[in-house]
Amino acid sequence: MAVSVDKAVSPGPVRDHRPPGRRRRGRGRVVIEVAVLAVLAAVMLFPVLWMIETSIKENRDVYAIPAKFFDFTITLDHFKDVFVASGGGPTTLSGSFLNSVVVAGVSTVLATVLGVPAAWAYSRFSVKAKKDQLFFILSTRFMPPVVVVIPIFLMYRQVGLFDTKLGLILIYTAFNVPFTIWMMKGFVDEVPAEYEDAAMLDGYTRLQAFWKFTLPLLLPGIAATAVFALIFSWNEFVFAIFLTSSDAVRTAPPAIAGLIGGTTVDWGLVAAASIVFALPVLVFSYLVRKHLVAGVTLGAVRR
């Protein structure tokens, strides 16, 4: 019983048929409920709208008291400032976006390559203490990052991985592998093992059967899982700030957070940078909305 946003959207009305006497009271209630929902939606969305507004306001309007909601001049200067330095070259911020792309991309590919075969093996074969192994795998993901980062920091300093992209890629891969295994095991469970058995009767080996028959069926699941892993790495902050120190390696989250370090803060720039940073995430999460429940619970809940 897969529950997804799309399913939650399915047209079937859940409501019962009210006896006629209650109908009028029912209508009044519907109006109230819709109103409450509208107010809640407005409250939830206001910060996002305010961020968008701030990013296209001129500086004097950004700091206006009382705040200007509608009558302000629109400018795209802040977005330009995100990418183009005052001298003309690219900004350090744009470099950090590039670093984020590399780190998140490579770590996602690695986590997928390591996690998908493992998920398949866990799903198909009897493994000793399988349940315990799977729980151990998920529990590594629950460790508080601030705690894990202390020994990782010392370890990286020893082996020269501190302040390198490779170091970040490795730790993000390790953080995404548990998720990939749990999420993918759900997808593999749904592909009947009989397909592989049939292929093996036809003379294929188990590995060929996996490669030729199961893997193609898993591709949509792999894509969804990879998108979530990408989002997790993209948004990650704690490892990024403690394991890097130079602008050449730093990813976008600590770089954007660094914008508020000085005495005066250019909130227009912060807003524009945040939007540039958040937009891909929103697009990607819209693409995987069907798998959102499984994705945000690290593959644990899929019902």
């Binding site: 897969a2 939650a8 019962d16 819709v34 929902l37 939606a41 910060p47 590594t140 997808f187 958040a278």
Partner: protein, 315 residues
């Protein structure tokens, strides 16, 4: 097959049973495949998660400092007794408890209410759900920065709106007693959608015929909610709550961006305190002991979480 998730009502839990192998060789090759496919992932986890924690465990018994360098001397349980008896740590634990309980309770009540309201709507469900989910997908950095701007005492939009309806200015992030509340509010804003999403999943899974049967019996709305909806959604909701509790307990980034633990130490949670001990005080040994204690708490919570998860899967 483009949509593997909605295939079956009961996903095959243990599809593992290998068919009776006709020969020894196939069985062997299956074993070999299992090892070859699982061990790389496990090795990475051992290297990047288990080994560091074991190292932290070793350091927790020493007086090692990352800046002083030099050999570490064993002090055995001194770090642990120092932490467990420290009044400072007790205060942080209390702050963390307030924060976790406050934020998770608010999120659960709000998230479930929104899900309930949405589940009663027929039209516009998809749009509403998508809109409500936006905060959850944003990075805590973006969320923290933005709320910091909005809650600014001078030119923040929240105070500006309060001013326009004739209320006084509030120093959201710079007063001891409002800072923790602000932190709870921001966390609630970001994570209410999470509870909502999972509650909605539970609500839409409640079989319709139960409601129909109840409505034939002329059961009141409240009665139906209490005897049908709540018992059926509760197991899933509990998992969402536990998940959020673990996340809230280990939260660091939002505190770092929003208040940096201040003013004073009023918003210093355990995670933030560990960071200060480790990276500002460089008492690596003490910080490791501190971290190990936190890991123990997370392990207890995670065990609970997985126990309920198992129960849910078995039903």
């Amino acid at each position: 097959m483009s949509d593997p998730v909605s295939l079956t009502d009961h996903p095959v839990q243990e599809a593992s049973a290998t068919p009776p192998a006709p020969g020894r060789s196939r069985h062997l090759s299956d074993r070999w495949l299992t090892v070859a496919f699982i061990s790389p992932a496990l090795l990475l986890l051992l290297a990047m998660s288990v080994f560091p924690l074991l190292w932290a465990l070793y350091l927790s018994f020493t007086d090692y400092s990352a800046t002083r360098g030099g050999p570490a001397t064993f002090v055995w349980f001194e770090n642990f007794t120092a932490i467990l008896t420290s009044a400072q740590v007790h205060m942080r634990a209390f702050t963390t408890l307030l924060y976790v309980v406050g934020a998770v309770t608010l999120q659960t009540v709000l998230g479930f209410s929104i899900a309930y309201l949405i589940s009663r709507r027929v039209r516009g469900r998809g749009v509403l759900t998508t809109l409500f989910l936006v905060p959850m997908m944003l990075s805590p950095v973006v969320v923290g920065l933005f709320w910091r701007f909005m809650l600014d005492a001078q030119f923040g939009v929240i105070n500006s709106m309060l001013g326009s309806i004739g209320l006084g200015q509030v120093e959201w992030l710079t007063k001891q007693n409002t800072a923790l509340i602000s932190l709870i509010v921001v966390d609630t804003w970001q994570w209410t959608p999470f509870i909502m999403l999972i509650a909605l999943a539970g609500l839409t899974a409640v079989p319709k015929y139960l409601y129909e049967a109840a409505s034939i019996d002329r059961a009141s709305e409240w009665f139906r909610f209490r005897t049908i909806t709540l018992p059926l959604v509760w197991p899933l909701l509990l998992i969402a709550v536990l998940f959020r509790a673990i996340e809230a307990f280990r939260l660091f980034d939002l505190v770092y961006i929003l208040t940096s633990g201040g003013p004073g130490v009023s918003t210093e949670t355990l995670s933030f305190h560990v960071y200060k001990v480790a990276f500002l005080g460089f008492n690596t040994g003490t910080a490791s002991a501190y971290g190990i204690l936190m890991v123990l708490i997370v392990i207890v919570l995670a065990q609970l979480y997985m126990r309920y998860l198992n129960k849910l899967k078995e039903d």
